[in-house]
């Protein structure tokens, strides 16, 4: 009889392209990696609500306000799907939130940059969601079933996010001089951070090899980044935005763009907590989490008082 609880058997299932489900045997390293990656992904969605939320009350039209609200709501929903996927691995949402607030768990550093003008809402949708989608499309095939299913749903819902961002950028580039300046300013500030979203180069990425072996990650950081660069530069040029890179060029042979070196010092500085908004984002999360505690407690108390009634009417 083969041992269903062996790492070899597990790896052969992965190699066969099988999905792993919550109750299946998995090596501790796989479980840990997943919890870290899924929760980081969930936290990113939830913290990502803040920079865009910063512009909801100033959205310049009713249509823009609806779109932005619906989009941020999606981010919250995606955080929720992902928390649920992580919960299947035996960790509670309360623990995950605690890790976020204590700094033990990370979220995407991109959200530690401020959203300063209305075009930032365009740039976030187009560049940040654009980069995220490249990654997420790839993750639909991830080996862990609940994560994969969450990603399928997320990708379906996210398809409008990037388009609405590009629409804002297009409108602004076709608008007044002030609007064009705002759009270019947003481009200048979000371009490099969005490239950093894919993480360090493959040669410097501490988690990549296991993640690829286990098919949690299906493509490497550099492969995904290149895909994003190749599709985004022509989009920028189409609407007259300048790429804030004096030395990028198209390699005619490969069809790939080559860009200047990424400033990894900045990347690691922001990850270490010294981005413009790290403290603000976590403080915001803690503040409203704490302010909501009495509400959650009330809901539980009410349920306990009325639990009998509910069972009778259920």
């Amino acid at each position: 009889m083969h041992n269903e609880h062996s790492d070899t058997h597990f790896q052969s299932r992965i190699d066969n392209g099988e999905h792993i489900e919550a109750k299946d045997y998995m090596p501790e390293g796989y479980r840990k990696h997943l919890i870290r990656q899924i929760s980081q992904h969930a936290h990113s969605e939830v913290i990502g609500m803040q920079p865009e939320g910063n512009w909801i009350t100033r959205a310049p039209s009713l249509r823009a306000k609806q779109i932005l609200l619906a989009k941020i709501q999606d981010e919250g929903g995606h955080g929720l799907y992902l928390y649920s996927a992580a919960e299947t691995l035996g960790v509670s949402r309360a623990e995950l939130i605690e890790n976020l607030q204590s700094g033990k768990a990370k979220y995407s550093s991109i959200f530690n940059y401020p959203a300063l003008n209305w075009a930032d809402i365009g740039a976030i949708g187009w560049l940040v969601d654009g980069a995220a989608i490249v990654n997420q499309v790839s993750l639909q095939r991830t080996s862990y079933g609940p994560y994969s299913r969450a990603m399928v749903r997320i990708c379906k819902e996210e398809s409008f996010h990037q388009r609405q961002g590009y629409e804002i950028m297009t409108k602004m580039m076709r608008g007044t001089k002030d609007q064009q300046a705002m759009a270019q300013d947003a481009m200048n500030r979000w371009w490099w951070p969005s490239l950093m979203m894919f993480g360090p180069h493959d040669t410097d990425s501490p988690h990549s090899s296991d993640a690829v072996k286990w098919k949690i990650k299906r493509e490497t950081n550099d492969e995904l980044r290149q895909k994003f660069i190749d599709k985004t530069i022509p989009q920028a040029e189409l609407i007259g935005l300048t790429i804030p890179d004096n030395n990028f060029s198209l390699d005619e042979k490969t069809g790939h763009y080559k860009i200047s070196p990424i400033n990894w010092d900045e990347f690691y500085r922001v990850i270490a907590g010294h981005g413009p908004c790290n403290k603000q984002r976590v403080d915001h999360h803690i503040k409203f989490h704490e302010e909501g505690a009495w509400v959650r407690e009330a809901a539980v108390a009410y349920k306990q008082k009325h639990v009998k009634k509910e069972l009778e009417t259920a």
Partner: protein
């Protein structure tokens, strides 16, 4: 006053309620007590903004000066807004948000049920679409009122405070002026007298069930029909209108 002028004002009043409450609720994004509730409140906000769009567009059509719903939403001075004072009150703690939702949604449920019968076909159509949304808002508000009122001693206290704090703005919901009188004669507007009695009954039932006390009627605030608002509205508008006012030549 012509029926047309009266209908314009009447529609604007309804539109402003939806616009400003949608705005208030949108402020809560990323601030909910639990992620699920964050999304729920956003759904209510989206319903409100959608309703505002329909009503303000209709107001613009009646006015006939080629304006859009956005022109009406973003280019008016404070004194020309006619949302109820209750609507513009701050979100406060979750209890205040829920108390405001309770008072408003029970009112709107009764109101729009009647407006569905309006002889103005556009208003009747908007009412019949919006009544489904309102039913849900009302259910959501009632359920939370029960949980908070009959939850912990802290939530009970907060909910009672919220109900008491907002009570003085509820009287205005039932005020009628010459616009209402004119349109009631035309079979367009809703008579608020029976609605007031029903609203009191319904609210009393919910509060009782939630172990909360019905506040006593004291002085009721008034003014929105004449453009006299609380200090809150000016701040809402300075945020909401910022881009439209700062870049008047731009389209967004």
């Amino acid at each position: 006053m012509t029926t047309k002028d009266a209908t314009y004002t009447y529609t604007l009043r309804l539109g402003d309620d939806a616009l400003i409450l949608g705005h208030r609720l949108s402020e809560l994004c990323s601030r909910g007590p639990i992620l699920e509730e964050d999304l729920a409140l956003t759904n209510v906000a989206l319903d409100m903004i959608g309703r505002a769009q329909a009503l303000l567009k209709y107001a613009a059509d009646i006015e006939g000066k080629g304006k859009t719903d956005d022109d009406i939403a973003y280019r008016r001075a404070e004194i020309n807004y006619c949302n109820h004072l209750l609507i513009e009150q701050p979100n406060g703690d979750f209890a205040h948000t829920i108390a405001r939702q309770l008072f408003v949604s029970v009112f709107e449920f009764l109101f729009y049920t009647e407006l569905e019968k309006s002889r103005d076909e556009t208003l009747a159509a908007i009412a019949s679409k919006t009544i489904k949304e309102i039913k849900y808002h009302m259910q959501h508000a009632i359920d939370w009122t029960l949980r908070l009122g009959d939850g912990t001693s802290e939530s009970h206290k907060r909910m009672q405070t919220a109900v008491n704090d907002l009570w003085m703005y509820t009287g205005e919901l039932f005020e009628m002026d010459e616009v209402d009188a004119q349109l009631m004669r035309d079979g367009i507007a809703v008579d608020l007298i029976p609605i007031k009695a029903q609203w009191h009954n319904d609210i009393k039932t919910v509060l009782n069930k939630a172990t909360l006390l019905m506040p006593e009627d004291t002085y009721m605030q008034t003014g929105s029909k004449k453009g006299i608002h609380t200090e809150n509205l000016g701040h809402i508008l300075s945020e909401m209108q910022y881009l439209q006012r700062a870049y008047p030549d731009a389209t967004w």
